[in-house]
Symmetry: C2
Subunit: 190 residues, 2 copies
């Protein structure tokens, strides 16, 4: 997606260790107009997938997910990183965060993710796919069906796509970064 | 806002201790079509306020904030509940959570909240206004100007509005709950 790539080139900051900081338009300050274009793109890409629900994880995925849900006219469910005292019928899984070097739990209620659901997962980043694997586990526990995964930015050099595609999952990323070597942002197929 | 009130009556669950659970359309599963109506309403209410930015707190406020930002064509910034290792120029404040009975910190970067900003704060709930007071502190630290606060649901019986209005802040809530006594949801001016 050209508009996203251009924005990454213009405002993205590359930090040592393969970190790409996109705080000015995605991760802390969000550009709603860009989010709408992103949602339009996901809605187009997954138009034939027959989904009835979008799933994401707080907080990075919520904005693109809600706008994609609006475009596709389906509800959006988000997995939580802390367990609300009022949650019932809890499903949970453990995710290892590479960035924070620790494990964390995510929770979703079976009331909103269950058998019969055809789910599109939306998130901001695909890196080593640890979060994505946790989501697959949650969807499996719920007895729901995963129809695809859509990411705003994929860091191809962290190899998350391989295991997902091996598991038969359709993976679509709007901007695929081949390398951040020498703090130069290089997209795939450049 | 009639559509929101009707949805609360239909799907809201009242729990002991004055808790209103709206997990099926706001707090875990979100209805994007309702969020768009909410955003339209906020956009109308605050159309004359000359804002250049919307501020919210993760995670409950993100969905209504991003859609309102889209309607009003302004960026949306969210205060974070955990400190990202890459955040610079950090502003922080402490909020006491009545629901969880503990304090937590929220963080925002001065890069995205600063002097000259005219800010609309959007959040899901107004209860005792503890989060709102933290936000006022952050905006004050940043040297920005708060032009108003918009909430989806106000629990009037927890008296958060008083201190905010006393501080000269414009407070607008789309559904105001007068009482949950006996687990009956009663709106103001019914």
């Amino acid at each position: 997606m050209k508009a996203l790539e251009q924005r990454i080139l213009k405002e993205g900051k590359c930090l040592p260790g393969g970190t790409l900081k996109v705080d000015s338009f995605i991760n802390q300050q969000m550009d709603p107009m860009l989010m709408e274009s992103i949602a339009e793109e996901f809605s187009h890409i997954f138009s034939d997938s027959g989904i009835n629900k979008i799933l994401t994880i707080e907080s990075g995925g919520i904005a693109p997910a809600i706008m994609t849900g609006w475009k596709m006219k389906v509800p959006v469910v988000f997995a939580k990183k802390s367990l609300p005292s009022t949650m019932e019928n809890i499903l949970s899984t453990t995710i290892f965060s590479f960035t924070k070097n620790r494990e964390y739990e995510v929770y979703v209620s079976r009331d909103y993710l269950h058998e019969g659901d055809r789910v599109l997962f939306i998130d901001d980043f695909l890196a080593n796919a640890n979060a994505a694997k946790g989501i697959i586990d949650l969807i499996h526990q719920a007895g729901a069906e995963l129809t695809g995964m859509g990411f705003l930015i994929e860091k191809a050099f962290q190899h998350g796509r391989g295991p997902l595609e091996k598991a038969g999952i359709r993976v679509e990323s709007l901007a695929v970064i081949e390398s951040l070597d020498g703090c130069r942002i290089r997209f795939q197929n450049e």
